[in-house]
Symmetry: C2
Subunit: 274 residues, 2 copies
């Protein structure tokens, strides 16, 4: 999916919601555990319930890898289910990969060729040749860690002058255009989105940290939105684990819809009128 | 495996060789591709041929993930084959993971509970709470990226004063003792190992970059060795792809033995006599 198509979807659905599929075998409703493939079954029901309000899904690789090969199968089935049934939804592999060139190339193959993800999150520590193997796939994206939402972001992301996260955001724009490069910036530091938006005026920003981690959606929108929205705000636990009974999908739908309504208002208030 | 046991193995085998199992379905000998599980079959033969000269094996996750769920099965079988047949060999998941706490915890579960790896490589960008979930497993290790072997290391690892890589190496020692924390430092910058050894006098250092990437083993030993060796030097392509015929395992054995002989000499020359 390209940048224009992404913005089209945002306008069509009045939403910039990304639902994080952090599907934890220990947290899904008990009755699903008897199914053949409980992770996929959970995802399928969450997806069917929330797709109307959702621009992107973001499976978190760790949760699938933590149950071994069958987890990876559930991931593959999930990506393929979204692609087949909701072709206009953007799919992000939240993998935070990054390694020497020949290795990053293998990860790119995994996510962009074997599975049909639209984007993969990449960690910048190893620099340009660890990132570029993910680039050059038509309408596929790198989402590079900038300023993350966790406390540990303070350990290294502020090293240097200007701080590391801003050097990452500036330098990476020499490697790729805003048509294939997004950044991660956490909602827990929403006021800093203002500066990040200045550093990367045209790039989409994937914003985790609203919901369970405590960030404010209104602040994220106020400080981070650009003329084509430029935001994908992720909620995981606050939607997918809002309920743990047989009603989990319906409650997830209600939570997704609530978030979409709030987003619709923010888009109306903040997007330039055309 | 704990630190003393690791040094015991090094002394017993007169080697500090780590063989990287970057097993690429496109690079393994043609005749293996007809097997049920070509990746595992290749690994098994490489392992049986080289185990005598090898302290550690380091499967690189990207190569397994690039072929999907069957790749992860091959990885699981490989780790389990080493553990069952060569229980004194250290097994490293070269995964370069690192994410917010609840996610890193899932990766730790994947590598240390579901599979029985001794160590996992971790990227430091997200800081303390992305690293600590991998700690606290008895005799299991975090191998944290310090100064990597690729050209892209120049992009961000030298940001700040002192440079980022040295801040990573210093700060991480507040999180974990040398009994559960190693660092990655590339052989392509061997002279810098002297400084890194000063920053981390007691930690093991995993050194990629000898072989295909051009680093010198003798320099690595000269600048990086401490009183208990403190080095695991990785060779991947130079051993496992030294030959692409039916003799691949025998040639890998010869290459591993050559390297071990060189290492034996370096240990004799550089280890303090007791």
């Amino acid at each position: 999916m390209n940048r224009e198509q992404l913005f089209e979807q945002i306008k069509k659905k009045n939403s910039f919601l990304c639902v994080g599929l952090d599907t934890d075998i220990d947290k899904i409703p008990e009755f699903l555990k008897a199914k053949d493939d409980p992770l996929f079954e959970f995802n399928k029901q969450i997806i069917d319930a929330t797709a109307k309000f959702t621009i992107a899904y973001k499976p978190n690789l760790a949760f699938y890898e933590s149950v071994g090969a069958k987890g990876l199968l559930a991931l593959e089935k999930t990506a393929s289910y979204i692609r087949s049934n909701y072709p206009d939804i953007f799919i992000i592999a939240d993998a935070k990969r990054g390694d020497i060139g020949n290795t990053s190339k293998m990860y790119a193959k995994a996510f962009f060729e074997n599975m049909d993800f639209d984007a993969v999150t990449v960690a910048p520590y190893m620099g340009e040749d660890s990132v570029t193997p993910f680039l050059g796939y038509k309408d596929k994206w790198v989402i590079l860690l900038g300023l993350t939402s966790n406390i540990g972001a303070d350990d290294f992301q502020f090293v240097g002058t200007p701080p590391l996260y801003s050097q990452v955001i500036k330098k990476a724009q020499f490697w790729a255009s805003p048509d294939e490069l997004m950044f991660v910036a956490g909602a827990t530091r929403a006021t800093m989105l203002k500066e990040i938006r200045t550093l990367a005026p045209d790039n989409f920003i994937l914003v985790p940290g609203v919901g369970a981690q405590g960030g404010s959606l209104a602040e994220v929108a106020r400080y981070g939105m650009n003329a084509t929205c430029g935001l994908l705000v992720n909620l995981s636990r606050a939607i997918i684990y809002a309920d743990s009974t047989e009603n989990f999908a319906e409650v997830a739908m209600i939570k997704a819809q609530e978030t979409q309504k709030e987003m619709q208002q923010l888009l109306e208030d903040l997007l330039p009128k055309v």
